[in-house]
Every structure is written in structure tokens, then in C-alpha cells.
């Protein structure tokens, strides 16, 4: 399949990129291209211009700072999945990256591209929500940060302005006492998440002292399962407590997506099953 014609710009700096975006308000940002180009090939997306930020300096890479890892927007899924520092300090993110698409997609697809595209069936959005990550955007007025909880604003839409670029994501590090798990039910053809659950659990003194649980794939944006989190917080991480908490994940899932493969009801059910399993794995890792 063939895309429609477009102009192509490859800025050399962030400033130039932002200038180009201002000059071409109908342009689309091209990072890894693994969400955008398939849509363009099916002519579902027909941008008149692309601003290729794929080589902007300084936007790929992982740095540790102040209890967080700052991951450049252009860091590929493969790089995140294979990163020793991410695996050691924020394993949940590495596990998630390893489950995105396939190896070829992971080699090109980027963290920033995935988040900015905000596909309901993508994996990263669920996990960064569970991680309470902070997103760094650059725009004409300089940089600003957006909490993950405020970043996704609807189907394929985000808090980014048209003249802004997502440049990095900060995720909190965690160590002994905290465990994470991301589990998904992949679509048998596309590999996208029909439902996904990201859990982060801290256990201290035999009690769950902190828990976050996000569900993706089911609704237009991932959501935090607040009722489930409340139900588990303060409890001993027993099977019974986790099952009871996971069942409450459904409360957060309004207006579920539905398609030929999986109905809304089934997606909600899957979410509770995946929530239970993710919480169980996360709790076990917290206590390992």
C-alpha cells in the first residue's frame, strides 16, 4: 500500500523541530513511525507533512536522577527492554517494553511515539499510569511536565498541544519491597492488548503499603483501578485479598471497547483476571 504524498522535514535540533511544527500545523511528528506509517499506508492518516524527529540529539537514552529514571522519548522499546538499569530499578517498564509488538517493532518503535499516539490497545500507556510517571513536553514556551494521570485525554488524543513534542518520561525507581508486573491478553493477529494490567505493589511488615493498578485495552484510555487499589491497600497480600481487590477493577471500566474478537463484557472480565494475576506477581516480587 502507498501513502499519500507529503513533505518531509528532518530537523537537526529540538528548537528547529518546534519551529517546523509551528510552521506546519497540519504536520505529523514521525519518531519510530510504527504507529503512524501503517495508518498512512492504509490512507487512514493523510498528513501533508512529516517532521522526522527520529535523530534529534539528546532524546534517546536513559539517565538516573533523584529517585527516577528519565527516559528519552526516542528510546526504542528494545532499548528499554534490554536496559540493565531499567530492569534493575523499574522492572515493570522493561517487562512492558518486552511485550510490545514484535522484535522488529521494538527495534524501531519509541517510548514517546507510543505514548503520544495514545492507542487504546498500546502497552506503555497502562504501565506509565501505574508508575505515576511524569511526561516532559517541549513547546514554544519551553518545557513543562504532565503527570501520566493527566496525559491521556481520549481516543488517540493526549494533553500535548499541536506545537509540542514529548521529549522524555520520568519513572520512579523501586527496589526491594516493591514489585511490578505487566500482563496482557494479546490480540491473536495484531498482538495489541485486548486487555492489559500493570500492577505495582509495595509490601512492608506483611502488609501492602502501596499499590497501583492500571488497566489498558478495555477503554479508550488506560485507567487506574482506584477501588481495587483501595481494597488491597493495608491488607496482607493474600490470594483472597488480591482476588477481592481485582474484582473491583471492573468498577473503573466504563464504556468498554468492543470488537469482533472481544466484547466489552469479556474485556472487563479479562481485566479482572489480568489484574489478579498482575497483583499476585507484583506482590510476590515485592516479597522476594
Amino acid at each position: 500500500m502507498y501513502t499519500t504524498a507529503f513533505d518531509y522535514y528532518r530537523p537537526q535540533s529540538l528548537a528547529e523541530a518546534l519551529t517546523l511544527l509551528r510552521a506546519h500545523p497540519d504536520a505529523k511528528v514521525l519518531a519510530g513511525g510504527h504507529s503512524l506509517l501503517p495508518a498512512m499506508k492504509l490512507r487512514v492518516s493523510q498528513p501533508v507533512a512529516l517532521v522526522d524527529i527520529g535523530r534529534l540529539p539528546g532524546l534517546a537514552g536513559i539517565t538516573a536522577a533523584g529517585g527516577a529514571l528519565k527516559i528519552g522519548a526516542l528510546t526504542t522499546h528494545a532499548a528499554v527492554a534490554a536496559s540493565d538499569v531499567v530492569r534493575a530499578q523499574c522492572a515493570l517498564l522493561a517487562q512492558t517494553a518486552a511485550q510490545i509488538g514484535d522484535q522488529q517493532v521494538r527495534n524501531r518503535g519509541t517510548l514517546g511515539g507510543s505514548l503520544a499516539h495514545a492507542d487504546p490497545a498500546a502497552d506503555y500507556p497502562t504501565t506509565i499510569l501505574a508508575l505515576d510517571a511524569t511526561l516532559h513536553a517541549a513547546g514554544p514556551g519551553g518545557e513543562r511536565t504532565v503527570p501520566a494521570s493527566a496525559f491521556f485525554t481520549g481516543l488517540l488524543s493526549t494533553a500535548l498541544q499541536a506545537d509540542e513534542l514529548l521529549i522524555a518520561v520520568s519513572v520512579p525507581v523501586y527496589g526491594r519491597g516493591t514489585g511490578g508486573a505487566y500482563l496482557k491478553h494479546p490480540h491473536p493477529a495484531s498482538g495489541y492488548a485486548v486487555a492489559g494490567a500493570a500492577a505495582r505493589v509495595t509490601v512492608a511488615g506483611g502488609k501492602v503499603t502501596q499499590v497501583s493498578l492500571a488497566i489498558g485495552g478495555v477503554t479508550v484510555n488506560p485507567v487506574r483501578a482506584a477501588a481495587a487499589e483501595r481494597a488491597l491497600a493495608g491488607q496482607a497480600p493474600s490470594d483472597a485479598a488480591i482476588v477481592a481487590a481485582a474484582a473491583k477493577a471492573a468498577e473503573a471500566l466504563r464504556d468498554p471497547l468492543s470488537d469482533n474478537y472481544a466484547s466489552g463484557d469479556y474485556r472487563i472480565h479479562l481485566a479482572t483476571v489480568l489484574a489478579k494475576r498482575a497483583l499476585t506477581q507484583a506482590a510476590a516480587r515485592a516479597q522476594a
Binding site: M1, Y2, L42, R43, P188, A189, Y261, Y266
Partner: protein, 783 residues
């Protein structure tokens, strides 16, 4: 030396593929080439009110734009299998009045680049009046259903019935048990990894058309194009199918694009290329299966099968494709006896037209649908009677002593030893241990299931007389030619076509053994009508049994001539010379040391210095082989699955396949065919569905939606064979290409149903997606 047959030789064709030198149609580039793209309908059913091509024509780089009004001179796409009473609706290469499925053709563009051709398509304005659509095979035949074609007033293109209805009814009346199932055999999309493609070049100098196309049967395509469609005389039309990247039946039919590309090449006076995108394939390649069946089995108390009765609605899509009417008739109802002695069978079917992509042969083609019906019924009967699925099958198998066996549905099975296949399958799978482990797992509340599928195929179509009597427009023989060159090198020509099957190796093994020559001295040529004047192509697991047999016949002629020459030169009577096929030598009985080698004799035939009286120079022979019967490969596959009770997801844990495909030419290739076939059949059982919305939108429009099996979906498959040679072809071979697919679908479904049996789940229609399985578990737990 030879004795190549029976050995797992590495494939001769592989060096080019592993180095990226495959000669696929899409790789062809000709000077001055233009690119064709088709404007296709977004509606399942609509009247075409107006087509405006002005903007498209004005786009720079567009060479031409044509609509159905321009292509009126091109003929109608014909049916090649005309069962009695069939109504074949008109099917133009570009539609003029209505479109009848998403993807139906309304206009074409020829442009300087494929990018410009795609842009031009977007500029063609078609004014449609949408009409109500019908997609379900059975609903299409109901009164009041939307009508597709005025010439087919009830949407029923054909009906067919076989068997003795009265006997069947009497048997059901007298039966101790009757089990009944309504089954959907869902729509599939073949999805050969290479999308269809065509390139055509017209030579005004020689008035010859050359068409490169992704066909499983270029000679048949040439006949159909010449006789029905583009009017180029057959001897002026050369059709070449070079390397073809898989077919699975979807590259049998002659397609409208195969007519439009050469037609356009002549119109614009330049070579024209068309390559389907995957999305385009999904809405234009013939699709497979799509039956709704009501089936009943009558049994005695002890599990003895008395009778089988089925009624099937077969969905043909919007038009009748080339051999569409064969599939749910003579390739389906005739197979309903399975591996069993069933005294009375009656099957009837309705072939309906719907607002969906047309349906034709897909790997197995009718025979998997039959095997699925039979094997599901037998399993449900076993469950009802409290019999092990193995025991009910063993009890009803046709005994080895009863072959040849005449079924009540026309076929005469040539040979078989089903007990032997079963015994080997039980051993290979460790059936007793599997059952013991299952009992343990069930105690733990795990949903572990073991499935058995016992299946037959009528492969190697077909005795031409039989085909003719049943509605076939052509015969189904195969040609085989052997050209021995002066230097002793051998060119082998077959009318069969390899698109993954490995003929370049297996056919060479056959001929090398027949002639006693080094396999490296043999080259197979296929897929070019300029070189192979006649052939029927490859489908129905026919290439070795029919095409290979033709080569045996031509090799026999070569040997006979070689022996005459040798006898003359050795001054002996022909009756007294021996053709040593291991050494590739001919000598006088008792005097092997004074032998003439094959190479010497080939050179002697070429020089013609010293030939016997009446023997012509040269050493090349042709043969046509018309099979006496189908061959009847048979299989017993046993699988273990586990169902995740929380999600409904199915995991295949073990898979053992025992197949009797008669004599084996290359065990490595046979194993590969079986493994690949199994994956495709499992795909139907668990994942694949060419789904439409009720108003005819194709949901499985690309590979984001249509779930082709992945590597991670399978365990290692254990394969083994028994070998009951076919008694009626010179190689003793039976078909192999489709057997895995036929057997694995019921095997897996039976395994999942076995896993769910403790819950009381009786049947779930394919594909057994997690949601469907989960819902069945929920429903069973509620009741």
C-alpha cells in the same frame, strides 16, 4: 547409485530462496512498465449510478482509466464445474450495474508508478445506491433475502444430493441413539504469504501476449483466458507462473485481474504490472469453507454407526468462482463416510450466493468440511454413549480386509489399514499415559482435554471420466515429459506447479530412480505454457500421484528406447538386455561388465550414427497420466490441550500425527507438508475467521485482524507414518499436502470439547476464541 526415492534429500530449489533470488511475479520489472490498480467497492451491495473518472484521468502520471463500459469486450468469468442445474450468474471483470461484495471491481487505473495509481484511485468518484445485503449462507436462501442476481431468483446457484434417503430414514427410525449437531465451518482467508500479482506484455510484432501470474495452474489459466476472457488465441498466449509464494487453493481460479492486466497491456501498449496489497487480497482472493450444516448420526447401543444424514448450506460469495461448485458437492458429500463403515448416508446441500467475497478451494477443499462433520459427530456420540473416542472409532473403522471398499456415497476407497494407523497414533501420543495424566489434572480442577481426529481425503483429482460426469469442464490428467540431452543431462517437464511443495526435488528423485541418473543431472521445468503445452496444475494433493505418475510413464518410454538402442549396439535382443536403474547402465543378461551407460546411450540417440532400424534420433518422451481413482490418504491425529478456565484461552500442549500417505518420495518434505498442514488446520480451529458484519463489511480486512498462526502457538509436533501403498498408481503414493489440515481441525476442537466435557459443554463453533470458550464455561456453570 540412485535409489533416491524414500530419502530426505535437501531441496534443489532452496539455494535461490535462502539467498533472496526467488523469482516471484512481483519481482519482475520490464522496460516501460506501467502499474495497474483497481477501484473496489466499499459497499457489500450497491447499484452503480455513476462513475466519474475525469479527475483521475487528469492526474499527471496517469496513463489510462477504464470502467466496465470500456471492458465490455472482455468476456465473463466462467464456472469450470457445472453441476446439473447450476445457475452461473454473469460476472464481469469490471462491474457495470451493481457491486455485490466489498472489494468488487468498478474501475481500473494504469499509471507510471504504483504510488500515482493509488492516488488516482482516490480521485475516481463512484455514485452508489446502497442496497440491503445478506452474508449468511442459509439466510440467503430464505424468502425475502436480498437478491444478488436477477438470474438466480432465490440466491441458490445449485443444489446437490447423494445417497439413499429411504435407507437412511429407516436406519434412523430403528436406531438406539441419534446424535445431532448444527455446525458452522467458518469462512477462512487462505493468506498465502505472497499476495497475488500479474505482469503482462503484448508484442505487436509477434501478436503474442505474455502473462506472468501467481497461478497454481498456468495452463488452465491460459485455456480460460483464451477461451472465455481476452480473446488472445491460446497459441499466442504464454502464461508463466514462476516461483509462487504459496497457494493453498487461492491461486487456482482464473481471476479478473489476470484478464484485466493483459487486456490493459494491449490497450496502453506498454507492459502492465499489478500487485495486490494484503488488504486487497483479503477482499479479492477466493476464500474458503463457510458452511452451515445440520448433521445427524444414528447408532446402535454398542456404538455401531448405522447412518449419517446431513444438510449443508454452502456460501459461494457473490459469484461462482472457477471450481466453486465442486467443493461442497463432489469433494464434500462423497467424503462423509470418513474412515468408517456406515451402511447408509444421505447428504444434500444448497450452494448460495451472498454479498461476500467469492469462495473456492482452500487447502482440503470440501474434504476438511466433511471430516469436521463426521469427527465432531463421532465424538459427540462417544460422549453420549460413554465410550472412549478411540474405542468408538476402532469399532466402526473399515477393516483392512475390506479394501477396496465401496462407500454409500460414490467413492471406492482403494486401500487402507486404519487399525494400524490408530495403533501407531496411540503409541506415538502415549495415549494411555495422556488419559492417566488427564484424570490427575481433572482432580486438580484443570481443564485438560485430549482430542482424536481420524480423517480421510480423496486426493489426486481426478479420473477425467468421473470429473466429466460430475460437472467438470476439463479433464484432470497430468502431463509429464522427459528430454534427455546429448550430454546425458535431463530436463523434466511437468504440468503440475510447485509453489512450496518441493517438486523440483521430489520429481527429480522420481525420474533419477526411473532412469538411473545422478539427481544433479536433472532439472525440473514447470509453470511456463511455452515449454509445457498441457497441464492441469497443482491442487487437491495431486502432483505426485498424477504428475509423478505421468513422469514414470514417460520414463518407461525413455527406458524402452534406450534399451532398444543398447540391444542394437550390444548385438542382443531387446528381451535379453537389462536396464540397471541403480547404475544407470544397460547390459546383456549375464554380462554386466560390457554395459552401456545412460550417458553413452543418450549420446548415441543424439548422434544417430548407429541406431536400430525404425528408431528415430533423439531421446525425449511425453506421457499423459489419467488416474484410475483418487488416492485415499488417511490420518489419526491426537492432541492434548489445556483450557485456561479464567480466560477461556486454549494452549496446545502435545500433538502427535500419524499419516498414511502411501509410499513416500521424500520423508523430510512429507513431514514438512504435514506440519504446515496441521498449523493451518489449527488456525481454523482456534484463531482464523474471515468475519463479516451483517451488512457485509469484511472485518478481517488485513493481518491486524485476521489471525494467521504464529510460531508461539505450537509445541513441537510428533509425526510418524504407516505406509499402505496406493494400488493403482505406479508410485504407490497418496496425497499429502492437505492431510494435516484436514485432520488437525477436528482433532483440536475435539480436544477442547474433551477438556470442557466435565462441565457439560457439548459444542462451540470455530474459531474457539477465548471469549467463546469462556462464555461456554460460564453458561455451563450457570446451568
Amino acid at each position: 547409485m540412485p535409489n533416491y526415492v524414500g530419502k530426505s534429500l535437501k531441496r534443489k530449489e532452496d539455494p535461490r530462496f535462502i539467498q533472496g533470488q526467488g523469482k516471484y511475479v512481483a519481482n519482475l520489472s520490464l522496460p516501460g512498465m506501467t502499474y495497474l490498480a483497481l477501484k473496489r467497492s466499499p459497499y457489500a451491495h450497491a447499484r452503480i449510478k455513476n462513475i466519474n473518472t475525469a479527475k483521475a484521468k487528469a492526474l499527471p502520471g496517469v496513463v489510462a482509466v477504464f470502467t466496465g463500459a470500456d471492458t465490455a469486450e472482455v468476456g465473463m468469468l466462467p464456472s469450470g464445474w457445472n453441476v446439473p442445474g447450476i445457475k452461473v450468474p454473469a460476472n464481469r471483470v469490471l462491474q457495470t450495474d451493481k457491486v455485490r461484495h466489498v472489494g468488487d471491481r468498478v474501475a481500473l487505473v494504469v499509471a507510471e508508478t504504483p504510488y500515482i495509481a493509488a492516488d488516482a484511485l482516490d480521485l475516481i468518484e463512484v455514485d452508489y445506491e446502497p442496497l440491503p445485503a445478506v452474508t449468511d449462507a442459509r439466510q440467503a436462501a430464505q424468502p425475502g433475502a436480498p437478491l444478488l442476481h436477477d438470474s438466480v431468483p432465490d440466491n441458490v446457484s445449485y443444489t446437490w444430493a447423494l445417497g439413499n434417503k429411504d435407507e437412511v430414514e429407516q436406519a434412523f427410525a430403528a436406531a438406539d441413539h441419534v446424535v445431532e449437531l448444527e455446525l458452522t465451518n467458518q469462512r477462512l482467508i487462505a493468506t498465502a504469504m505472497e499476495p497475488r500479482a500479474a505482469v503482462a506484455q503484448w508484442s505487436p510484432f509477434t501478436e503474442e501476449m505474455t502473462l506472468w501470474t501467481t497461478s497454481q495452474n498456468p495452463n488452465l489459466t491460459r485455456v480460460v483466458l483464451s477461451a472465455f476472457l481476452i480473446g488472445v488465441p491460446e497459441h499466442k498466449l504464454r502464461v508463466i507462473s514462476p516461483d509462487v509464494g504459496g497457494g493453498f487453493g487461492s491461486k487456482i481460479p482464473t481471476y479478473p485481474e489476470e484478464a484485466l492486466v493483459p487486456w490493459a497491456a494491449r490497450k496502453v501498449g506498454r507492459p502492465v504490472k499489478w500487485v495486490a496489497s494484503r488488504s486487497e487480497s483479503a477482499m479479492s482472493d477466493t476464500q474458503g469453507r463457510d458452511h452451515v450444516t445440520v448433521a445427524k448420526l444414528a447408532l446402535k447401543q454398542d456404538g455401531t454407526i448405522l447412518a449419517l444424514r446431513i444438510a449443508t448450506w454452502a456460501n459461494n460469495g457473490a459469484y461462482i468462482s472457477l471450481v466453486a461448485a465442486l467443493i461442497p458437492t463432489a469433494f464434500y458429500i462423497t467424503l462423509l463416510s470418513g474412515l468408517y463403515k456406515i451402511p447408509a448416508i444421505y447428504g444434500e446441500m444448497w450452494g448460495t450466493l451472498t454479498n461476500t467475497v467469492w469462495v473456492d478451494a482452500y487447502r482440503g477443499a470440501g474434504r476438511p468440511e466433511a471430516a469436521y462433520v463426521v469427527e465432531r459427530l463421532v465424538d459427540v456420540a462417544a460422549q453420549k454413549l460413554g465410550l472412549d473416542p478411540v474405542e468408538i472409532r476402532r469399532k466402526n473403522f473399515i477393516p483392512a480386509a475390506d479394501f477396496p471398499y465401496q462407500t454409500p456415497v460414490a467413492l471406492q476407497y482403494d486401500s487402507g489399514n486404519y487399525q494400524g494407523v490408530l495403533d501407531k497414533a496411540l503409541e506415538l501420543s502415549g495415549y494411555a499415559q495422556l488419559r492417566a495424566a488427564q484424570a490427575e489434572a481433572r482432580k486438580q480442577g484443570r481443564l485438560v482435554g485430549i482430542g482424536v481426529g481420524a480423517c480421510i481425503e480423496a486426493s489426486g483429482p481426478a479420473p477425467s471420466k468421473v470429473a466429466g460426469a460430475l460437472g467438470g469442464v476439463t479433464g484432470f490428467w497430468e502431463s509429464g515429459s522427459i528430454r534427455v540431452h546429448a550430454t546425458g543431462k535431463v530436463t523434466v517437464l511437468t504440468g503440475a506447479h510447485t509453489h512450496g511443495q518441493g517438486h523440483e526435488t521430489t520429481m527429480a528423485q522420481i525420474v533419477a530412480d526411473q532412469l538411473g541418473v545422478d539427481i544433479n543431472d536433472i532439472d525440473l521445468v514447470h509453470g511456463d505454457t511455452a515449454v509445457i503445452p498441457n497441464g492441469m496444475g497443482t491442487y487437491g494433493s495431486r502432483s505426485t500421484s498424477v504428475g509423478g505418475s505421468a513422469l514414470v510413464r514417460s520414463a518407461e518410454k525413455v527406458r524402452a528406447k534406450v534399451m532398444k538402442i543398447a540391444a542394437h549396439q550390444l548385438e542382443a535382443a531387446v528381451e535379453d538386455v537389462v536396464y540397471d536403474r541403480e547404475q544407470g547402465k544397460v547390459y546383456v543378461k549375464g554380462a554386466p561388465s560390457k554395459a552401456k551407460t545412460f550417458g553413452e546411450l543418450a549420446f548415441a540417440a543424439y548422434t544417430a550414427h548407429n541406431l536400430p532400424e525404425g528408431v528415430e534420433p533423439g531421446l525425449e518422451e511425453d506421457a499423459y497420466y489419467d488416474p484410475a481413482n483418487f488416492t485415499y490418504p488417511n490420518s489419526i491425529h491426537i492432541a492434548q490441550v489445556e483450557v485456561d478456565a479464567d480466560t477461556g484461552a486454549v494452549a496446545i500442549q502435545r500433538y502427535a500425527a500419524v499419516d498414511d500417505v502411501g509410499k513416500v518420495i521424500n520423508p523430510m518434505i512429507v513431514d514438512g507438508q504435514i506440519q504446515g498442514g496441521i498449523a493451518q488446520g489449527v488456525g481454523q480451529a482456534l484463531w482464523e475467521h474471515g468475519a463479516y458484519t451483517a451488512d457485509g463489511q469484511l472485518l478481517a480486512a488485513n493481518l491486524m485482524e485476521y489471525a494467521v498462526p504464529h510460531a508461539a502457538g505450537f509445541p513441537m509436533i510428533a509425526t510418524a507414518r504407516t505406509e499402505t501403498p496406493s494400488p493403482h498408481n505406479p508410485l504407490g503414493v497418496k496425497g499429502v499436502g492437505e492431510m494435516g489440515t484436514i485432520a488437525s481441525t477436528p482433532t483440536i476442537v475435539n480436544a477442547v470439547m474433551d477438556a470442557l466435557a466435565p462441565l457439560g459443554v457439548k459444542h462451540i463453533d470455530m474459531p474457539l476464541t477465548p471469549e467463546k470458550v469462556w462464555r461456554a464455561i460460564q453458561a455451563a456453570q450457570r446451568s
